[in-house]
């Protein structure tokens, strides 16, 4: 979940509640769903919240939400914008993979250190979330005074920059945090930030590039040029975003513009000149959705007055017009910084939050249903009870294991007919070399428990009923899953008979007929191994573990064991 660092003093200033204590803020923020996680070295609150309200990824957005909560602000507010002076020309050479651009010009911003930190944080947090680590959307913010616009051709006035694509070594520029003139390809190899984001563009034929009249000044989504770096002296900014989806970068842009406007900046439109036509950005269009009064009441489980609902909408930063009829429906206006409203129910959630969910009285739903266990889990439970009655310690091991443990250390060959020899259902990119596949049988796990508990008292009689799986392309899931019953008896005098006696007792409990014809299994001693045949079907193996398996697991006493398919006892 996103975490945002917020200076409480900034919060006091931006909300206009200079007298609020830190503790009061923490409570108010918790009510908004922002959880206090601690403070940073320089005293900022670390607030964690769900990744829906990405407009709260900066102190400006958090302050805005608090102002609605306090009733200092109501309804939808959209910043005024000035007419465009700048044009983003989208060139034919723009990489096909990253065709979209948006942006704004921001004038008259007073960037002190706190404001600049906040802007940088917002940019980073938006990259991490909506921007999908810059793959979907990347933001560049530039000092406008360092840009020299191309004069647009013909009669047009104003300035322009060009979003285009260039050969990886097609030009050079000095990137942020660098002193060297590098080509984009060299940035990806030599610059720390370049290396970090190289994967995003390395497959592209042409690299994204933004030019003004002076030359290349931005290499999205990787890094900006040093020439246009923003500092606390910057007064006017140019914001550009590129990405794979227009809606996504437009909303990211809106969140930035709202944050800067909250600090007194003026937003100025820009024109984006695509081949198929020109659009004006930022896109501050207010969208509407419809939700019925009835739906709000059923979801919250309370009766509400019409005025009350409209008030709750406005306190959420929305506007609502009631359309009276057979059914009262609200047309709800949604401000352009919201990225989380996909469905009218999302608006009901806002009403609920404004109302206070914890104000609602819980009630047990008055619907009758019949409870029951699944057949499989009932059987498993009954077998487990019998095993425990026979003196086994019931164990619970991981379903994931390594090939070494599952096959090699048990001396079983992959793809063999022996119990446990099934093909592995392997994990494509294992996190740890200890867990690379689903276990095909349970005895490797039990033997590992014996191995890890040689310092504990014997006898160690252990049993597990557990999930096993192997690859089987005939299954719809490509994996055949089942449950096995497995047991080990580790004691100084353990023999085949000890295992068989308990296996027979278990079968008696389930009125299952057990036969144990001699067989061979690489994990067991030849001549002391039998197939477990239950009701005429071969379902497992019983015997004395082979000394090489025992010794390989650092055990110093005999182990008798059995394992078979649980469904045989059904």
């Amino acid at each position: 979940m996103p975490v945002v660092d917020v200076q409480p003093d900034e919060l006091r200033r931006l909300t206009g509640h200079e007298d609020k204590s830190d503790e009061e803020f923490k409570d108010d923020l918790f009510a908004l769903g922002l959880e206090f996680e601690g403070v940073t070295d320089d005293g900022a609150f670390q607030l964690e919240f769900g990744p829906d309200r990405l407009d709260r990824l900066s102190v400006e957005g958090v302050a805005r939400s608090l102002r609605y909560q306090y009733g200092d602000a109501r309804g939808v507010s959209v910043p005024n914008t000035n007419d465009p002076d700048w044009t983003f020309v989208v060139d034919d050479d723009v990489p096909d993979e990253r065709p979209y651009v948006t942006g704004a010009v921001v004038r008259g911003i007073d960037l002190d250190d706190a404001a600049l930190d906040s802007l940088i944080q917002l940019q980073e947090k938006l990259h991490a979330t909506m921007g999908r680590k810059r793959a979907k959307g990347a933001i560049g913010i530039h000092d406008l005074t360092m840009l020299k616009g191309d004069v647009l051709s013909e009669n047009a006035s104003g300035n322009s920059i060009t979003y285009t694509g260039i050969e990886p070594d097609g030009d050079t520029f000095v990137a942020l945090d660098s002193n060297d003139e590098l080509t984009p390809a060299e940035v990806l190899e030599q610059h720390d930030t370049g290396r970090k984001y190289a994967d995003l563009v390395s497959e592209y034929d042409r690299y994204p590039a933004i030019y003004d009249e002076i030359g290349l000044f931005s290499f999205p989504p990787v890094i900006n040029g040093r020439r246009t770096e923003v500092s606390t002296d910057s007064r006017d900014l140019l914001v550009e975003l590129t990405g794979t989806d227009q809606w996504t970068i437009d909303r990211m842009c809106n969140i930035i513009c709202y944050a800067l406007a909250a600090r007194g900046a003026t937003i100025e439109d820009v024109e984006v000149q695509y081949e198929e036509g020109t659009v004006v950005k930022p896109d501050f269009e207010v969208e509407t959705k419809h939700v019925s009064h009835d739906r709000i009441e059923t979801v919250l489980g309370v009766e509400l007055e019409l005025d009350e609902v409209i008030d709750l909408f406005e306190r959420s930063g929305l506007d609502a017009d009631a359309e009276l009829g057979d059914e009262t429906v609200y047309e709800v206006s949604i401000p352009p910084y919201r990225v989380d409203v996909l469905h009218p129910l999302d608006l009901v959630d806002d009403v609920g939050r404004a109302y206070g969910f914890n104000e609602l009285e819980p009630r047990y739903p008055d619907v009758g249903t019949v409870g029951q266990r699944h057949e499989r889990s009932r059987l498993e439970d009954a077998v487990r009870t019998s095993l425990v009655g026979l003196g086994f310690e019931d164990l619970l091991n991981f379903h994931m294991i390594s090939e070494g443990e599952n096959y090699e250390r048990m001396d079983v060959e992959v793809g063999s007919d022996s119990l446990g020899g099934g093909e592995p259902a392997s994990i494509t990119e294992p996190y740890s070399e200890d867990y690379t596949m689903l276990r095909t049988w349970v005895l490797p796990s039990l033997t590992m428990v014996l191995e890890n508990n040689t310092h504990r008292a014997y006898p160690q009689d252990l049993a597990e009923i557990g999930h096993v799986a192997h690859r089987d392309d005939d299954e719809n899931t490509r994996v055949a899953e089942s449950r096995h019953v497995a047991a080990v008896l580790a004691r100084h005098d353990a023999t085949y008979e000890d295992a068989k006696a308990r296996l027979a007792a278990l079968c008696r409990d389930f009125d299952a007929e057990l036969e144990t014809p001699a067989t061979e299994h690489p994990s067991f001693i030849d001549g002391r191994t039998a197939a477990v045949v239950i009701d005429g079907e071969e379902v497992g193996v019983v015997g004395e573990l082979h000394p090489k398996v025992i010794v390989d697991h650092d055990l110093e006493l005999p182990v008798a064991a059995f394992e078979f398919d649980l469904s045989a006892l059904a």
Binding site: G50, P51, H343, F357, E393, T428, L438, R478
Partner: protein, 499 residues
């Protein structure tokens, strides 16, 4: 009077006039001293004998003392060696030590006692023996010899030997027994031995012999050898409790595959395909071909929900949606895949409201393994399907569930999940510590989840890790001690069962 045989023997061997020690009685009765001691105490408790206790000291040579008794004290050996080498004159120390064949710590012992006892002087690395000294008159040497032959020695010399760790003193209690008047009377009236037995045998029961025997008394307070039975795993016990509570609340159990298509695991849940939780490092993709058999109409519905949303005013995600990704097979990251299968009508047929379903089953998360996080753990998942469910119904259901685990004061923190709206993180008061703790995640399934599955009513759902419930209730610090092959058998054996 009937008494156990050992007591009768002691009573007969004891005298009213002469004190007899335990050792004497043991010899006289041909019984082990500890048997006699036991009998004596029993007789004393009966008032038949009196017992006086005295302390006797014995002295024993230590290994070092025995060695010196044999070879001579180191200082004496040093003195004699000095005389041999220097013929009465001062000689270099190294030379004397060599000649004395003393080694190791004995050298220091010899040198310090040499001077103390006036065998000579040590100066500037030379050793000057005093010709007048008489090693044959060495009191300590004489005492060692005396002790070895069992004679007693002077107390001061004994203290000196003890300080040199050449002897140890032992104290021993000597119990002397005399018959009391009651004892004499009892003997005169006649005392018979009752037969005592250690074990009750089948023969005794069938022959009736048990009627004539006395059973030897056991020390019933002594520790018995450890007995150990099997026990259900504590996490299973916890799961069973959860299942009991939920079936009691009208929930039926779900069952389904651990390896499943991402379609069922995530796409049906309206998780956007570029959601961070769906990236390769968070899920366990399996190296197998994709799933072929997924109902086509369902795929179309789900794709449409992702791209265009649900309902007139609905919006989709502004992310691409790939059917290939949806068909790829992975280990399920939550058991909500089962809920999707059941809700779709493809598991147990079309479901009509009302319904309640649950599962307590394994899920797999590619997370960091630490004391509170495992790569695989049990998820408690439950949902209720009914017409017009409200947030209040959800709250009432959870208050009921958690109250069975002693967790009260449930609070609902508004939260965000891609698949539920409204969504709540659940907090509750810990039964022991009183702390407010996170106990689950819940919400009403979104229409984008339900409508593509063909569900037209409301469904509320919640999830919680079983391990978390276990740790909250039993205070385990490290879940790896309990779950997995690194488990500690002693911990499992000694864990209190769930009542």
């Amino acid at each position: 009077m009937r008494l156990p045989e050992s007591q009768v023997a002691v009573l007969n061997a004891a005298s009213a006039t002469d004190e007899r020690t335990i050792a004497q009685l043991a010899e006289a009765t041909d019984q082990k001293p500890e048997t006699v001691t036991g009998a004596v105490f029993d007789l004393r408790d009966e008032g038949l004998v009196s017992v006086t206790e005295t302390t006797e000291e014995s002295v024993e040579l230590t290994d070092e003392g025995a060695e010196y008794a044999e070879d001579g004290l180191p200082e004496v050996r040093l003195y004699r060696a000095a005389l041999d080498v220097g013929d009465g004159d001062a000689v270099p120390m190294g030379q004397v030590i060599g000649a004395s064949s003393l080694g190791g710590p004995q050298v220091d012992i010899a040198l310090s006692n040499f001077a103390r006892k006036g065998y000579g002087h040590i100066d500037s690395g030379e050793l000057a023996p005093d010709a007048d000294a008489d090693p044959d008159a060495d009191e300590e040497a004489a005492a060692l010899a005396a002790l070895e032959s069992g004679e007693s020695v002077d107390a001061d010399v004994l203290d000196q030997l003890e300080s040199r760790n050449l002897v140890v003193r032992h104290e021993r209690t000597i119990r002397a027994v005399t018959l009391t008047d009651e004892g004499v009377t009892a003997l005169m009236e006649g005392v018979e031995a009752a037969e005592t037995v250690d074990r009750l045998t089948p023969e005794m029961l069938t022959s009736g012999e048990w009627e004539d025997v006395e059973f030897t008394e056991y020390n019933v307070e002594a520790d018995a050898p450890e007995a150990r039975g099997g026990k259900k795993h504590i996490l299973r016990q916890t799961a069973d409790r959860v299942k009991d509570v939920l079936t009691g609340m009208g929930f039926a159990e779900m069952e389904g595959p651990h390896a499943d298509a991402d379609f069922w695991i995530n796409d049906c849940l309206f998780m956007p395909q570029d959601h961070p939780a769906r990236t390769h490092w968070d899920r366990f993709a399996l190296d197998v071909p994709p799933m072929e058999d997924i109902p086509e109409d369902l795929i179309d519905n789900v794709r449409d929900a992702h791209l265009n949303g649900v309902g007139e005013d609905g919006d989709g995600y502004h992310s691409p949606w790939s059917e290939d990704f949806a068909r790829a097979i992975a280990l399920r990251g939550h058991t909500t895949s089962l809920s999707m299968r059941y809700l779709s009508g493809h598991e147990v047929g079309e479901l009509e409201p009302p319904q309640r379903y649950f599962s307590v089953e394994k899920v797999y998360r590619n997370d960091t393994l630490d004391p509170t996080h495992l790569l695989e753990f049990y998820q408690i998942e439950g949902w209720v399907m009914a017409e017009d469910l409200s947030v209040r119904d959800l709250m009432g259901t959870f208050e009921e569930f958690y109250s069975h685990f002693g967790i009260t004061d449930i609070q609902f923190k508004p939260h965000y999940n891609p698949y539920t709206e409204p969504s709540f993180e659940l907090f509750g008061r810990h039964p022991e510590t009183g702390e407010l703790i996170e106990i689950g995640n819940s919400g009403m399934f979104r229409e984008e989840v339900l409508r593509p599955l063909g569900v037209e009513c409301d469904v509320m759902a919640w999830g919680l890790a079983l391990e978390r419930l276990l740790m909250l209730m039993y205070g385990f610090d490290d879940i790896r001690d309990v779950h997995g092959t690194l488990c500690d058998l002693d911990l499992l054996r000694e864990t209190e069962v769930l009542k």
